[in-house]
């Protein structure tokens, strides 16, 4: 287990809650992720589905940005487009100055399921990326061992994934994505399948890890607590067709820990987010009612 030795929280500062326009502005030319008028359309049996509708957003280097919104609003699709797993129908996605034409090793991804290679030990799972990128076996394994220590699984280095708990597997998946030293780490509900206790531990682990890796993180979640706890910015998406409704800055002191979840200022911010999401959820429901 990663030692969790956070500094005690500084006295809570008033939270900033900024509603920025959800569009890219020229002032943010050095954004590491730049999504411009992105639309993604799927062919479904009942016609075309607009999963992402003219979304523009910028993420600055080192930022931690969360995407929240009702189920089916296009969070995963938007994230997959940033990963190069989904091609734009219109618009474009630029990461580190280059267009995303396919998966790239400087963009890492952690999925809701760990998707570890079942035939590889923890060590070799983590070493997979560096090996694939042409590092020597010795060097790849050395990098893996460092990461294993960082996620606190040294005792399980040679274990096969199916012998680990869900939380441990997800930690290995995070380490595996980090092994390629990505500039951008995309996470799609990475703790969604975990129980509440494990999830809380994983959130603390991620906060701790983030201080060491200096990667830009885009994090999809259903859990508004999780989004506020972890992020510098929370993007709230509208019920499908997927659009970004609000862009909230979370001005919360770091380092943070889950202790913040009972802070009154934090609760006020959470209430605002929940109201927005609830209104959106209702809209989505009414839209569905209207269609059927």
């Amino acid at each position: 287990m990663v030692a969790m030795m956070h500094n005690p929280l500084r006295p809570a500062q008033p939270l900033r809650l900024v509603n920025a326009p959800p569009s890219a502005s020229p002032a943010t030319a050095h954004a590491i992720i730049r999504v411009e008028d992105l639309s993604i359309v799927f062919d479904a049996p009942r016609g075309q589905v607009v999963a992402v509708d003219r979304v523009s957003l910028d993420v600055m280097p080192g930022e931690f940005v969360s995407l929240v919104g009702p189920s089916g609003c296009g969070k995963s699709t938007l994230l997959n487009a940033m990963a190069g797993l989904e091609r734009p129908f219109e618009g474009r996605v630029m990461v580190a100055g280059g267009p995303m034409l396919g998966p790239r090793p400087d963009v890492g991804m952690v999925f809701q399921q760990p998707h570890l290679f079942p035939w590889k030990s923890v060590r070799r799972n983590i070493a997979h990326g560096p090996r694939a990128l042409g590092k020597s076996k010795a060097e790849a394994l050395r990098m893996a061992d460092d990461l294993i220590e960082m996620i606190g699984l040294t005792r399980f280095a040679n274990a096969y994934p199916h012998t680990l708990s869900g939380g441990m597997q997800q930690r290995v998946a995070i380490a595996r994505a980090l092994a390629n030293q990505p500039r951008v780490l995309l996470m799609d509900e990475p703790f969604g399948a975990l129980d509440a206790q494990t999830r809380a531990v994983m959130q603390d682990n991620l906060l701790e890890l983030r201080d060491r890796i200096h990667a830009t993180i885009v994090f999809v979640t259903h859990d508004i607590d999780e989004a506020i706890l972890l992020s510098d910015r929370v993007l709230i998406m509208s019920a499908g067709p997927g659009r970004i409704l609000r862009d909230l800055s979370v001005g919360l002191p770091r380092p943070r820990s889950s202790a913040i979840l009972t802070d009154p200022a934090y609760l006020a911010l959470k209430r605002d987010c929940l109201d927005l999401i609830r209104t959106e959820g209702r809209k989505a429901f009414e839209q569905m009612e209207a269609v059927t």
Binding site: P103, P105, M109, Q113, H115, F117, P118, H162
Partner: protein, 259 residues
């Protein structure tokens, strides 16, 4: 639960073990008795002792080794070629739409034809050569392994593929590691089925005409009315395919090593 001596369940269990151990000897003994009692024709239904003598003669004549190695070679070489081709083409058709559209319809037409039905055409093409015999075994093994691999490849967890893509896995490694190992549990099942198929097709191949082999020996013995030798050959073939199946079962448990 009682574990006492008079527990009826326990008694039944011990009795079944005893019956199990005595079953084959009792059967052989009965066969010996019936065959010697002249109730049946001893030429057509020789006692086990006669069969044993025939097998010993076979070994002493020096033909046994040649026959067994000829059959073993056909089965193993045919299996190896057919299985390799099946796995490679299964991965290609499972992974690439275009290759699948090209080959799958053809394979699905040819696959249901029993391999034995190809004996006449094989004789026309290859005569009594070894190539013809290998061809039959390869043919039988190939389709089973191909289908298992093809299905296995399509069932590979898409999440694993995406994870591998995100890590920069090169195309070649994608096929040779992620897809192959992802499909391995299916492939192993196909290979095990193919082991018994390779023996069926071996029989057909040797019956069609050969110069050595266990089934060839059985056929010669039949023509000379050496019923003991016929039965000895059957026993040897049974033993061989039993050993092959068991060793393959042991191998296949270790093949999916991460379970």
């Amino acid at each position: 639960m009682s574990t006492g001596r008079h527990d009826p369940a326990n008694a039944v269990r011990r009795l079944s073990v005893l019956v199990g151990v005595l079953s084959v000897p009792a059967f052989v003994g009965l066969w010996e008795l019936v065959a010697r009692s002249r109730i049946v024709n001893a030429v057509l239904f020789p006692p086990p002792s006669t069969v044993a003598v025939a097998v010993l003669d076979w070994i002493h004549s020096g033909q046994f080794f040649g026959d067994v190695s000829a059959s073993l070679f056909r089965v193993t070489a045919g299996f190896a070629i057919g299985a390799t081709a099946g796995i490679v083409l299964g991965i290609l058709t499972g992974e690439f739409r275009l290759i699948s559209s090209l080959l799958s319809p053809l394979f699905h037409i040819l696959r249901p034809i029993p391999p034995i039905a190809f004996v006449p055409i094989v004789i026309l093409w290859f005569g009594l050569s070894e190539t013809g015999k290998l061809f039959l075994v390869v043919w039988g093994v190939f389709f089973t392994v191909w289908l298992a691999t093809h299905i296995g490849v399509q069932k590979v967890d898409r999440g694993l593929i995406r994870a591998a893509l995100m890590l920069g896995t090169p195309r070649r490694q994608m096929l040779s590691e992620i897809v192959l190992l992802g499909a391995l549990p299916y492939i192993v099942v196909g290979l095990r089925t193919a082991v018994s198929i390779s023996f069926y097709t071996l029989v057909a191949a040797e019956l069609a005409g050969a110069f050595a082999g266990i089934v060839y020996r059985i056929e010669i013995a039949q023509q000379n009315m050496q019923t003991g030798q016929v039965m000895g050959g059957l026993a040897a073939l049974g033993l061989l395919s039993f050993v092959a199946d068991r060793s393959f079962a042991a191998i296949s448990e270790r093949a999916v090593w991460w379970r």
